[in-house]
């Protein structure tokens, strides 16, 4: 194989076949993909409701402590299925490559995607490759879609969130966003590592614990504050977060402080937020903490009834005052001092 991606790798001819046979098929190894038919026929769905999602991935830098574009692209879609209460099953993996990309880097993404799929227990059964001329894309963009099945009887969603619910976080927040931003600005330190991980088994552990789980989310873009906003808006409730209870590791706090960002708005890629019946919060925390990915779980807030005119999400500071957590107006921007 050439050292760099050529336009011909996306042409559908011999080089495309080489890429598929030498890189994708062995890494993602499963019979449905290996058949290389126009559509994958992975088998019959287990009983339950179908869950289907898609997500596009662009990350700078494409390789970061704790993951890479490929690993992230599988985790993102698996997690969207998992927090919807579904058992993730099959994914597609499509990639748009910029001419001149080092094949070695693509190999890293493919290996990352394969590793995430193995960890999540899903199969990548379909894929596509396009190559665009140099300058028309930035390295590599990945698009994944995934299907899963919500077991019969399960019903998870923001419509079930009600006053009295506890809001749980499965671990320290802001780790992915802070790590990536630190890399971009040359602030890297060994203490920073993306939390990027598939959440399927953690979500299952919580669902199977017997606790009444009302909703789950993975706080990606926009972070915990934005996710809470969405939940509060959709359920017509008010969410009160306790600043002191929100787990933020010191290196993440330091990077955010330096870059003028609030950790509550910084992306996580391997954290679960769960809304559970208030009086079962302790049991839910035990279930989360018993799982290796939930060791740092904490109850970070409560759901209350919202009176007209009240802000949907507020943060109680350690001084007892309440601070409104609003939606970000646009992209989080560095500020002038």
């Amino acid at each position: 194989m050439t050292a760099r991606i050529l336009l011909a790798h996306g042409g559908g001819g011999r080089l495309t076949q080489e890429l598929v046979r030498e890189l994708f098929v062995p890494a993602f190894s499963n019979p449905a993909l290996a058949a290389l038919s126009d559509a994958a026929l992975p088998g019959a769905l287990p009983p339950g409701r179908l869950a289907f999602t898609t997500d596009a991935f662009v990350v700078e830098p494409p390789v970061f402590p704790g993951g890479d574009l490929g690993y992230l692209s599988v985790c993102g879609t698996v997690n969207d299925l998992a927090v919807s209460g579904a058992n993730p099953l099959w994914l597609s993996w499509a990639v748009i490559l910029e001419e001149g990309l080092e094949v070695e880097l693509l190999r890293t993404f493919v290996a990352g995607a394969a590793r995430a799929a193995a960890e999540a227990g899903v199969q990548i059964v379909a894929g596509d490759t396009k190559v665009v001329p140099r300058g028309k894309a930035d390295g590599a963009f990945v698009v994944t879609a995934g299907v899963g099945v919500v077991p019969p009887g399960a019903d998870l969603g923001d419509h079930r969130v009600a006053p009295g619910d506890a809001v749980l976080a499965s671990g320290a927040i802001g780790e992915h966003g802070a790590t990536v931003m630190a890399c971009r600005h040359g602030l890297g330190g060994e203490a920073l590592r993306s939390d990027c991980a598939p959440l399927g088994s953690l979500a299952t552990a919580l669902r199977d614990s017997g606790v009444e789980v009302h909703a789950m989310h993975d706080p990606t873009r926009g972070g915990v504050a934005t996710t809470c906003h969405e939940v509060a808006s959709r359920s017509g409730t008010r969410i009160v977060l306790e600043q002191e209870a929100v787990p933020v590791r010191p290196p993440v706090a330091a990077v955010c402080d330096l870059l003028g960002l609030d950790p509550l708005y910084v992306a996580c890629e391997g954290r679960l937020l769960a809304w559970v019946r208030g009086d079962q919060a302790e049991r839910a925390l035990e279930a989360l903490r018993a799982h290796p990915q939930g060791a740092g779980a904490a109850c970070i807030g409560r759901v209350e009834a919202r009176i007209a005119g009240q802000a949907p999400v507020v943060l109680r500071t350690p001084y007892g005052s309440l601070r409104v957590l609003d939606l970000l107006a646009g992209a989080e921007l560095p500020r002038i001092c």
């Binding site: 600005h185 600043q243 002191e244 929100v246 787990p247 933020v248 706090a253 870059l259 003028g260 950790p263 802000a311 500071t317 350690p318 001084y319 007892g320 005052s321 309440l322 601070r323 409104v324 957590l325 609003d326 939606l327 107006a329 646009g330 921007l333 560095p334 500020r335 002038i336 001092c337």
Partner: protein, 361 residues
């Protein structure tokens, strides 16, 4: 998110208690102004206003560099960015500041080359990468920011990067403080002095607040206990009828400041009159590039700029002077929100209106 020792809840409670007891001895309601955007943000983020007794009012002054940048400056930056041979580099929050007819953000979407950087040195690196284009850095900010711009200019001079220029919009704090203290519409009993600015200029630079303006002032840091200690000192001065300048941020602020930083600023910049959004022209309140560095001055690059159009109904000026609280502006929260800012005070995190909108009073 546990606060560090400077935000220790027990210490905060103790300070709030002490301020409450001291405030009982106040002859009337007192108003203190913070003139640093980072203070505005810190006060809002910790909800400190709501912890203070009703006789102590904190108001935000013109301390957010983005907010006081006049429309005409953004118009010029836009005009520069529209030239194909120019790359405009800027700190992030300036890209969303409304200009007469748009913003740098919209200008970028239309094809202009506008890049957000964290440091003027990043802009210098871009200039090295693009030797055939002029790289303009938007020099906005107070005494804290200017040395970093001056240092980038020094590096450009020393290492021969001819295509790096600065659009100087730098401002200094003492002249607007004088103007505010003398404005009969503004009632200020004391100032919380800008901690970061003081690191550069030194606490002594603010002696005029007591000697000339007969107002109390304290240099303070940005943690909740820092700010509250400052408020406590100002209340005590008010109770005792004193007007002195105290430095409570001695862990980083010295009387004379950072001499190296002051020297590099002095090498490249000289005092000039400057327009402040909402406050108008204030003599000696800006910094212009010295004549010897005209080849670095992006203000001398010829572009067509129309007469600036100020947003109608916007009361940023009164907000910046502390004459009104943001919700008293007719546009606040209706036509002017962080998502669609009309006035500059709604753009930056540090802007009074944005802080008020996001965090409540």
């Amino acid at each position: 998110m546990r606060p560090d020792r400077f935000g220790d809840p027990a210490a905060v409670r103790a300070l709030v208690g002490r301020i409450g007891r001291l405030a009982e001895g106040l002859p009337r309601r007192v108003t203190f102004m913070e003139v640093c955007g980072t203070h505005t943000h810190a006060i809002a983020a910790a909800g400190l206003r709501r912890l203070l007794p009703s006789r102590v009012r904190l108001i935000a002054g013109p301390g957010c560099p983005v907010c006081v940048t006049p429309v005409g400056y953004v118009d010029r930056a836009e005009a520069l960015a529209r030239r194909p041979d120019v790359i405009v580099t800027t700190f992030g929050d300036l890209v969303r500041v409304p200009s007469s007819h748009g913003s740098l953000e919209r200008c970028r979407a239309e094809g202009a080359d506008v890049r957000v950087v964290y440091s003027p040195r990043d802009a210098l690196a871009i200039a090295r990468e693009h030797p055939r284009r002029t790289v303009v850095f938007l020099g906005v900010g107070f005494e804290t920011t200017t040395p970093t711009v001056a240092a980038a200019l020094a590096e450009a001079e020393a290492s021969g990067v001819p295509n790096f220029r600065v659009l100087a919009g730098h401002k200094v704090m003492p002249p607007p403080m004088r103007a505010l203290a003398r404005d009969p519409a503004v009632q200020v009993d004391g100032f919380l002095l800008p901690g970061h600015v003081s690191v550069i200029v030194g606490a002594r630079a603010f002696e005029f607040v007591s000697s000339e303006l007969s107002r109390a002032a304290v240099v303070v840091g940005f943690a909740p206990t820092d700010v509250l200690q400052g408020v406590e000192a100002l209340v005590r001065q008010a109770v005792e009828g004193r007007a002195e300048v105290e430095n409570l941020y001695t862990r980083v602020v010295t009387p004379e400041g950072n001499l190296a930083a002051r020297a590099v600023v002095d090498r490249f910049f000289e005092p000039a009159d400057a327009v402040w959004r909402g406050l108008g022209l204030i003599p000696g309140s800006g910094l212009a590039l010295r004549g010897a560095f005209a080849h670095r001055d992006a203000g001398l690059v010829e572009v067509e700029v129309c007469e600036p159009v100020e947003p109608r109904g916007c009361r940023c000026g009164d907000v910046l002077k502390g004459v009104i609280d943001p919700p008293e502006c007719p546009l606040f929260g209706t036509v002017c929100t962080p998502a669609a800012p009309v006035g500059a005070c709604m753009v930056s995190n540090e802007g009074s209106c944005a802080a008020w909108f996001r965090h409540g009073a």
